[in-house]
Amino acid sequence: MKKIISLKPWLILSVLLVLLFLINVSLGSVQIPLMDTVSILFGGIPENPVWKDILIDFRLTKALTCVFAGGALALGGLLMQTLFRNPLAGPDVLGLSSGASLAVAILVMAATFMPPLLHGPFSIAIAASLGSALIFIVVLVVANRIKDNTSLLLIGLMIGAATSSLVSVLQFTSRSEDQHYFLVWTFGSMGGLNWQEIYLLGVVFLFGMTLSLLLSKALNAWLLGDNYAQALGIRIQRARTLIIICTSVLAGSVTAFCGPIAFVGLAVPHLARLVINTTNHKILVPGTVLTGAAVMLLCDTVAQLPGSSLVLPINAITSLIGAPVVIWVIVRSKKVRV
């Protein structure tokens, strides 16, 4: 077979990513000339030393968070769409984000009537990861019993509804400052991570991407269904477990550090398939990660409202961009495919 992998989409994606990254770091409430921005990024000394602190500790961390979080969420969405063979699967649709929200809500707001839970630097991250993993396992157990994908999505929505109501009970009974803290967390934010947290997010992201690439044979085979995958020599139980772990770690850690980000996991894999027309995960995984990073940088740039000091919740922007994209993809191709 002559494999003709067109280089064009990769070139476009990479250039787009670099451009969006530069735009993202050069915009903000403080004006820093573009040339200085580039020179600081490559280790130069700017006229104004404050610029360097702003760039390195605030804008660069935010942009890197966008890259890691966007890539990780998009990858999580791709894994779930393949695992469920359902184009409408995604971390937020199946209740993973709700699970993380519930866990964080318990951690933040139930402190009044619980012994103070561990309050280390990563406690929110750990709680969110556990929460989304728990929901994912519930969804998967149900998925093994109910083969019908539409029912599964409905069950995911119900789980989401149930956890949301638990969260509102917690909100009702908690102190107002805890409530506010939780509410701000649910808006989502790409900023505010220190370098230590970014390293952790980066490690999780690299772990997820490496594991997904190693799993690309199993993921491809999964597209034919469990029976064919097994008949092709895939150890499906092991592969399924690894895919679950990978997805919940990816989605859980992003939700932990950046809050529940909507739509990126659902919409980006479709955008990636539109740019790179393939079903081969060896190509789809890096393609989806690149697209996810670019989309997240774009959303964050828009959220800063260039030219103003106001910053919108990132979730509002991802939904505003994500929802029309999904509608457009469906209308354009008549039918969404995994």
Binding site: K217, L224, Y228, A231, L232, G233, N277, T279, N280, V338
Partner: protein
């Protein structure tokens, strides 16, 4: 008489007192029991039986997708090829939902048992893929997406995928379901040729009685007591096994015809030969006449130049329809 010293072809699959079915909770729901079956090299086996008798379950059990209730399935090349995926390939009734891939990509899946995580195809892999595509004659479809294919083309692509797996055994579950007559015949012919010319053992679960009788080397027929009757097609027809299992209503398997009732009570002597004779007989019987050598009425079918003519009571008719109108009045 001394028994003939015949060397039977190599066994590719054998079952020892196999029982298949499902375990639900503590209860066993057994579908077929005490199966001692063999598939040999170069053999096309058609596996027949009424709906719900456990055809798919047997295929799944033989392929190792579900455990047997008791007994075992033996594939003798176990030592040579430890992985089951290198010994048995499958075409199931599962629908493929990921239709955004090309036929070529689908066929490439057949090489997965031989590839590591990096999915790097060797020149040999590519040769095997091309050969599978050529054997199923779908070269012109190779770059088409699956959603562009008809049901028959899709089935051919699935068979090509199974062939690319390059296994001695090929199991197919109802490969001709939902296909038109042409596609059904094409697929059964392809499978028979594959069995005979590439020394594969092929097992097909099917409902196509007429096709199975004409193409299969061996028939497995599910019996009434959860057992299996096996033999060559003609033996099973003549000893009445088929009639027993399928309980044909108004169909005579031995002549391959539907029963006709001679409701007109009129006998006709038919003179002619070849296909003309057979189809004229068919038309007359279908319309309630019986054919008798010593009847009063005589119909003669013959050629007039390159045209067929039927003569009856001195009149000449140019189509069977005209003849039937004249006979009916």
């Amino acid at each position: 008489m001394k028994p003939l010293d015949v060397q039977l072809p190599l066994e590719l699959l054998r079952t020892d007192s196999l029982a298949i079915g499902y375990k639900t909770g503590g209860a066993q729901n057994s579908l077929l029991e005490n199966l001692n079956l063999v598939v040999r090299q170069g053999e096309l086996v058609c596996f027949m039986g009424p709906n719900g008798i456990g055809k798919s379950t047997l295929i799944r059990t033989l392929a190792g997708l579900q455990p047997p209730l008791s007994g075992r399935v033996v594939t003798p090349q176990q030592d040579l090829k430890p992985e089951l995926s290198k010994r048995i390939s499958l075409v199931l009734t599962d629908r493929i939902t990921a239709v955004n891939m090309t036929v070529q990509e689908l066929v490439t899946y057949g090489r997965y048992p031989y590839l590591d995580w990096n999915l790097k195809l060797t020149a040999e892999d590519n040769n095997i893929i091309q050969k599978a595509i050529a054997q199923t004659r779908i070269e012109n479809l190779a770059q088409k997406k699956l959603y562009e294919l008809s049901d028959g083309q899709m089935q051919m692509a699935m068979i090509a995928r199974a062939l690319a797996q390059d296994t001695p055994l090929l199991l197919l579950d109802e490969p001709t379901a939902h296909l038109d007559q042409n596609n059904r015949v094409e697929i059964m012919n392809l499978l028979r040729n594959l069995a005979h010319h590439s020394d594969k053992g092929i097992l097909v679960a099917t409902h196509e009685l007429d096709l199975a009788l004409q193409t299969a080397d061996t028939i497995w027929l599910t019996g009434k007591n959860k057992n299996m009757l096996t033999g060559i097609p003609e033996d099973l027809v003549l000893n009445g096994s088929f009639d027993d299992i399928f309980q044909f209503k108004g169909f005579d398997l031995k002549t391959g015809k539907v029963f006709h009732e001679a409701w007109r009570g009129i006998s006709i002597t038919l003179i002619g030969e070849g296909y003309e004779y057979l189809w004229t007989k068919n038309a007359l019987e279908r319309n309630g006449f019986s054919i008798d050598m010593k009847a009063n009425f005589v119909v003669q079918v013959s050629h007039d130049g390159n045209q067929l003519i039927w003569e009856f009571q001195g009149q000449v008719y140019h189509s069977l329809q005209q003849l039937l109108v004249a006979l009916s009045s």
